[in-house]
């Protein structure tokens, strides 16, 4: 059976149109004046490069490889995150090392290469969940742009320094023992 659509019966007042039109114009005028008198910073629009949205708690953005106070990496190259990663975008190569001056010294294992392909990553946070050492965190940064794919293949140095500026930490100098990671090529404005 066909659906009967009930026709809306307008009252004579509505069918005059003009009162309704004037009412509508009053509404838009109100919006116009309100928007005009609102300072730019208080308007709904976030004017992106100058203003940024505060991301909510639990937002999963770019990764950070955490460090101890002395700057040594927390990661012990246990490969848990690599295993957990559904996108298979983490590449780890472990190395032995024994420098007892470092906090981490007793662990005797750390990543030689730690790479995350940021283009393959789906930002699911599984690596963060899997890590027994709390060494890898997903944080609130979401600005990811580069001129080529290779520079989005973040290496250990990139991952350790993603948030260095935001956190006010000194940027870790590139360790001579590590193979040089591909240049991180952020488009900065």
């Amino acid at each position: 059976m066909a659906i009967l659509v009930k026709k809306v019966q307008l009252s004579w007042w509505d069918r005059l149109y003009f009162p309704a039109v004037l009412k509508g114009m009053w509404v838009t005028f109100g919006h116009f004046i309100r928007q005009l008198l609102t300072p730019t910073s208080k308007r709904f629009t976030i004017q992106y490069p100058e203003m940024k949205k505060e991301m909510p708690e639990g937002y999963r953005g770019l990764h950070e490889l955490k460090q101890f106070e002395d700057g040594s990496i927390k990661c012990v190259a246990c490969f848990m995150c690599q295993e957990a990663c559904p996108a298979r975008c983490i590449t780890i190569e472990a190395e032995e090392f024994s420098d007892l001056n470092f906090t981490q010294g007793y662990e005797e294992k750390r990543p030689k290469i730690f790479k995350i392909d940021m283009l393959r990553c789906i930002y699911c946070g599984m690596c963060e969940e899997a890590c027994p050492k709390d060494a890898i965190w997903l944080r609130k940064d979401y600005e990811l742009a580069a001129y080529d794919r290779l520079s989005l293949n973040y290496g250990k140095w990139d991952l350790m320094n993603t948030y260095a500026v935001t956190d006010g930490k000194p940027v870790q100098s590139e360790d001579n023992e590590l193979p040089p990671s591909p240049p991180r090529n952020f488009v900065t404005m």
């Binding site: 039109v21 509508g24 838009t28 919006h31 116009f32």
Partner: protein, 350 residues
């Protein structure tokens, strides 16, 4: 210096100045009007609107640089002509749309006539008592449909044709209401010279108050004439793409867009002259003692306000369906204007 040139060939140079000022004014006002439209619509919709373009990468001036950028962009765009288009018509169509829009302004007085060294100067392109009066802008306004139609026909595109046909049907049906509501006004004035109309309003008050029904019909029909929302049937994003100017690019498109805004200005000027007392200053009846510049300012203020109303209405009302439009044109506007005419005529012979 201007007075010196004036004394050499007063008639000619005065005419020249008037033409330059008038055309210049229209051409200069139209682009900022696009800015008003874009920013105004943004404000109405709680947005911010275009504000990124900057002169020399620095001076943003509230997005006014977008007007310049748009104009510049139009000039540098590739000028495409579709393969099967009628090339000649395609070339003149933008001009056909633009020139009638521009011409309508010729008889509108922008200020009080004044005397200088024994000569009377009139602040309208064509002097009053020329026999055409306000019939002229109405007639020219009727020509504007050719711009749309020729543009639609020449681009050899079905969307364009549909848009053009719709626009012409709409214009033809709204011309009637327009004409009849103005006839009621002319009958009351006893003439159709703009000066006569304005002086009549100086003495007896604006026609907006004296013939509100006529004003309403005229105003609505002007929206249809200018092809503006809620009557923008020549185009329709969801049905016929950009309608009659689907195929136009670069400066041709720019001219079409400009024509629309010039049309708005001229329509506003017409409404001001006919119903809002032209250059007369509100709340004052002493027509001869007004300073000329004050009358010009008064005219401009009314004109700009009406231009804003055109923008304002566009961003308030949804558009009509085609049959609703025809319905309003023939079954509402036409009878209303007839009633207006009959009532006014009866009032005069009473």
């Amino acid at each position: 210096m201007i007075l010196g040139i004036l004394s050499l060939a007063p008639e000619l140079s005065w005419m020249l100045i008037k033409v330059l000022v008038c055309i210049g004014f229209l051409m200069l006002l139209a682009p900022p009007l696009t800015w008003v439209e874009r920013r105004g619509s943004a404000m109405i919709q709680d947005r911010i609107g275009p504000n990124r373009a900057a002169l020399f990468g620095k001076i943003k001036i509230l997005g006014l640089a977008h007007v310049l950028a748009d104009g510049l962009k139009f000039f540098f765009k590739e000028d495409l002509i579709p393969k099967d288009a009628n090339r000649a018509l395609f070339w003149i169509a933008p001009a056909l749309a633009f020139i009638p829009a521009l011409l309508g302004f010729a008889v509108i007085p922008v200020g009080r006539s004044f005397e200088l060294e024994g000569t009377t100067y009139h602040l309208s392109l064509i002097d009053p008592n020329n026999g055409m009066g306000l019939l002229y802008p109405l007639a020219i306004g009727g020509l504007a449909v050719y711009g749309v139609l020729v543009a639609a026909w020449s681009s050899n595109n079905k969307w364009s044709i549909l848009g053009g046909m719709r626009a012409s049907a709409q214009m033809v049906s709204y011309e009637l209401g327009l004409g009849l509501s103005v006839i009621a006004l002319f009958v009351t004035v006893g003439g159709y010279d703009p000066h006569q109309v304005i002086l009549d309003q100086v003495q007896h008050g604006w026609y907006l108050w004296r013939q509100p029904l006529g004003f309403l019909v005229f105003f609505v029909c002007q929206f249809a004439e200018t092809n503006r929302l809620p009557f923008d049937f020549a185009e329709g994003e969801s049905e016929i793409v950009a309608g009659f100017h689907t195929e136009f690019g670069s400066m041709k498109f720019g001219l079409m867009g400009l024509a629309e805004y010039v049309h708005i200005i001229v329509a506003s000027a017409l409404i001001v002259t006919l119903y809002l007392g032209g250059w007369s200053i509100p709340f004052s009846r002493d027509g001869d003692s007004w300073p000329v510049l004050a009358t010009v300012a008064s005219f401009l203020a009314k004109l700009l306000f009406l231009c804003w109303v055109f923008v304002w209405v566009r961003w308030t009302l949804p558009r009509f369906r085609y049959d609703q439009l025809m319905h309003i044109g023939w079954k509402i506007m036409f009878p209303l204007s007839l009633i207006n005419l009959v009532v006014n005529a009866w009032w005069l012979t009473r």
